[in-house]
């Protein structure tokens, strides 16, 4: 059993008691909600005649179903409009802060909470959304929950949970030029497997992680869930503290010194013990792309799609399914594969540095004929910061569309979707069958810079060849 890790310390601080069922009653510091998984939870609350216990510890936004061409109300899709207005009335009825459409703080829930300073080290954070693991980048214990648990957190600011094991993933070295956090996390999932993290919290550590920006760290924790880990985290450090200082909901200047002292005390002890430890070297990682139907079916851009014989016997039937669905030949190269749609956005890679990296690739180039390419900033704050740097103009000049913030084609609950057999190069986190809105549409996951390179050439391209030109 782990001891002395940040996970242990935060768990113990929030542990209330052991329950008769054998699990732990855990207090939740910050609860985030959005329009898709909250309506039934509020309805259940009403049915039981319960109140929201601590409304100031829940924060809401709208992201999944919002259109990205315009945020004009009422929305064209009446069901989407109903979901939004339901969230609005629930929030106003229970006194919950909503950063809704029209607010300059609206955006994807996992983008806005960190950028507003709501996400802080040492918190427990829950949200009815599996990518809540993102917030672990700050040294919080953050995880996704189901609709019944959303109801429970609203009613009691707590839930029942069993303690996870902790695996430390130590990353030596540094990422090479043209290689990003997305490539690193795809590389990790490829090696540890999509179920490898089941039952674990992932602690990402080591020289490479310490050198990453907060936005890069969020990309990695975001995808911990794709590796099967309910949560992933990093120990907070000077980079974390610098990021948080001065944000709207960060501790005030008056409390800053005390906050720092507390945050530093939470870091995993040098003598901490882990349930498991693995080590990787960042120097050896190339731009990485998925070729199949799970985030674990990934290869380096200069590798070939694995043949069934090269795979673990347990992975073969899934690989066969993937070859067929993706229409990809085992042993072929992924580089050069023709692309129809390029999507830059999502809670994995819809932040300012993601857009900057992509803009650096497209600047002075143009989207290939026949390719539809669009950029969806993760939040209003990201959109404004990008526009202040003229990134919107760079993208538009290169033939991209510049959209309003939302989840968009990450899961296609809004009008942005693939059609038929289209293939997308996407900076999002899931390449499941049908994920991007067409029952037989295909998704290749990659970094925003790689998506930009694919847009320019109309096919999967090693971004390093463009950057050096």
């Amino acid at each position: 059993m782990s001891s002395g890790t940040l996970y242990d310390k935060v768990w113990n601080l929030h542990r209330l008691r052991e329950l008769s069922s054998g699990s732990t009653h855990l207090f939740i510091g910050l609860h985030l909600i959005h329009e898709v998984t909250s309506p039934q939870a509020f309805a259940a609350l009403k049915e039981k005649g319960l109140q929201v216990l601590f409304p100031d510890q829940t924060v809401a936004t709208v992201d999944h179903i919002v259109p990205t061409t315009t945020h004009q109300r009422p929305l064209d899709d009446s069901l989407a409009e109903e979901m939004l207005s339901t969230l609005e009335s629930n929030c106003s009825e229970y006194g919950i802060t909503l950063h809704g459409l029209g607010s300059n703080m609206q955006g994807i829930v996992h983008v806005i909470a960190p950028e507003l300073g709501l996400t802080q080290p040492g918190m427990t954070i829950a949200c009815g959304d599996s990518h809540t693991s993102t917030h672990g980048a700050f040294g919080a214990i953050a995880f996704g929950i189901g609709t019944s648990q959303v109801r429970d957190v609203l009613a009691s600011q707590s839930l029942t949970m069993s303690k996870l094991k902790v695996r430390r993933i130590w990353i030596e070295g540094q990422l090479n030029k043209g290689v990003h956090a997305k490539d690193l996390v795809l590389h990790l999932i490829k090696h540890l497997g999509v179920k490898g993290g089941v039952g674990y919290a992932y602690e990402f550590a080591g020289p490479c992680i310490q050198s990453l920006s907060m936005e890069e760290r969020m990309t990695i924790c975001n995808m911990a869930i794709e590796g099967g880990a309910r949560c992933g985290y990093m120990n907070p450090d000077e980079i974390t503290f610098k990021y948080l200082q001065g944000r709207p909901f960060s501790p005030s200047a008056k409390d800053w010194g005390k906050a720092l002292k507390w945050w530093r005390s939470l870091v995993s002890d040098p003598t901490a013990t882990y349930d498991d430890e693995v080590c990787f070297n960042a120097d050896q990682i190339s731009p990485t792309v998925t070729w199949g139907i799970t985030p674990g079916q990934a290869i380096a851009i200069d590798e070939k799609v694995p043949t069934p014989e090269a795979l673990d016997p347990n992975e073969r039937s899934l690989a066969e399914e993937a070859y067929k669905y993706m229409d990809i030949v085992p042993g072929s190269t992924i580089s050069g594969l023709k692309i129809d749609v390029c999507f830059i956005g999502s809670c994995t890679n819809g932040r300012l540095s993601d857009l900057q990296a992509a803009a650096n690739v497209v600047r002075g180039n143009h989207v290939a004929p026949g390719v539809k390419a669009f950029v969806v900033p993760g939040s209003e704050q990201v959109a404004m910061a990008a526009q202040a740097q003229g990134l919107d103009k760079t993208f538009i000049a290169a033939g991209f569309e510049w959209r309003r913030p939302g989840c968009s084609m990450c899961l296609a609950m809004n009008p942005d979707r693939l059609e038929g057999r289209q293939i997308s190069a996407s900076s999002s986190n899931r390449n499941f069958k049908g994920r991007q809105g067409s029952a037989n549409g295909r998704t290749l996951l990659m970094s925003p810079a790689m998506v930009a390179a694919a847009a320019i050439n109309g096919k999967v391209t090693d971004v390093r060849t463009i950057l050096t030109n």
């Binding site: 008691r17 207090f27 039934q40 039981k48 510890q57 979901m83 040492g122 429970d152 906050a259 507390w262």
Partner: protein, 206 residues
């Protein structure tokens, strides 16, 4: 319709209804297109929507004599497929308060219990006899006794199996996690008062 499950559940009384067939999945119980909704309220009318459409009025859930039934009798591996809580919700909102079957899919079973709906087990032979008597005499009133693990009617008494943990939770009324979490309100208040980030870090010495 009778009230939704609440508190301690010891007996369930009412008419019964039978759905025959193994491996009835949650997609059949509630088709995916009904998931884009803001509340579970309307799901009752949509339960088995596609099956009912296909059977054009002759599906058990459409038979006049079976309206108002509260005990559903099914066969093996009922509720397999996706984890959607919409499936037990739809059954519950139609009026179902208990299920008796040969076996249940694990997630479906857990979702039912979280709603206060017991899933009792019996043998293939007993289930068939139960299903037959329900369809022959729809007006029969049944009583499911959770503690005795029996289903009783004027036709006699049959023994069932109910998992012990579930049995205890239902009888004690703590199948509902929310009430257990709210049980110790003082703990919750203390946690809120203790956590540095909720209290301007006041307990931390600078």
């Amino acid at each position: 319709m009778n009230k939704l499950p609440k508190g301690a559940i010891t007996t369930i009384r009412g008419k019964a209804i039978a759905i025959k067939g193994n491996d009835i999945d949650t997609d059949r119980i509630i088709p995916a297109r009904f998931l884009k909704c803001v509340s579970f309220d309307d799901l009752g009318g949509q339960v088995f929507a596609d099956d009912r459409k296909e059977q054009n009025g002759s599906h058990p859930f459409d038979l006049k004599a079976l309206q108002g039934a509260s005990i559903l009798i099914v066969n093996g591996n009922f509720g397999c497929g996706s984890s959607r809580e919409h499936a037990p919700q739809a059954l519950m909102r139609w009026g179902i308060r208990a299920l008796i079957g040969e076996s249940f899919a694990e997630i479906f079973y857990g979702n039912c219990l979280a709603l206060g709906i017991p899933c009792a087990i019996s043998t293939q032979k007993e289930i068939k006899e139960l299903q037959d008597s329900v369809m022959q005499t729809p007006s029969l009133e049944w009583t499911l006794d959770i503690k005795k693990e029996q289903i009783i009617s004027t036709c006699g008494t049959r023994n069932l199996r109910i998992d012990q943990g579930a049995q205890e939770m239902l009888i004690k009324g703590n199948w509902d996690a929310t009430s257990e979490l709210l049980d110790q309100k003082e703990d919750l208040n203390q946690a809120r008062a203790r956590l540095p980030y909720l209290n301007n870090f006041k307990a931390i010495e600078s």
